[in-house]
Amino acid sequence: MNQPSDFIIVAAVLISIGIYGIVVKRNALRLIISIELIANAVNLVIVAFSRMLPNSQGQVFVLFSIAISAAEVAVGLGIMIIAYRFYKDIDVTEYKNLKN
């Protein structure tokens, strides 16, 4: 059960959940959550392959990836808060509506 393909399947399921979230959800926070899920699934795949090879570079790459996504969340939430302060809502469709 414990083979690279299994990890990849889990990652694929996570990615598809993330895609579902991105397509369906209109709540900014949920969008961020979806993005995080996808990023993590990808990290999982990388680490799985890095263990398979075995090669440390995969792990280094994942380290960078996590760092970047943390930074991204910080900025994303910063943007969200400023949007919330303007529109008093975190629904992205609302932002569009208000602009018109």
């Binding site: 414990n2 263990r51 380290l63 996590i66 760092a67 943390a70 930074a71 969340v73 910080a74 939430l77 910063g78 808060i81 302060r85």
Partner: protein, 124 residues
Amino acid sequence: MAGETASQFLPILYLFGFGIVAGISSVMLSRLLSQRRRYNPIKFLPMECGQIPTGEGRSHFMMQYYSYILMFVVFDVMLIFLYAWAVTFTSVPKEATLPMMGFLGIMFAAMGYALFLAGKKGIW
């Protein structure tokens, strides 16, 4: 074989489990032993110094220190990289410290500016 290091982590889970067992059992025991009376709804009002509570308990209230939490996210990342460096410190040539110093320098500059911004207490 994959999963070997995982067994190192098992005792942590054991202890976590002990904590949960201890917690749940004591809470259950306390439910068994304690007398409970639900004669009045006032009892279950949130406590507010003997007043009837006004307003929501969970407001969207903020302290002025949001910026520190934002900063924490970023510098937490920085720290772990520092640890990766510290572990390797003795086994790499001394020049390898230079990029880390660069990293630190840039982060320090950022931190300084961020602290300056945060110190202005205008952050929501």
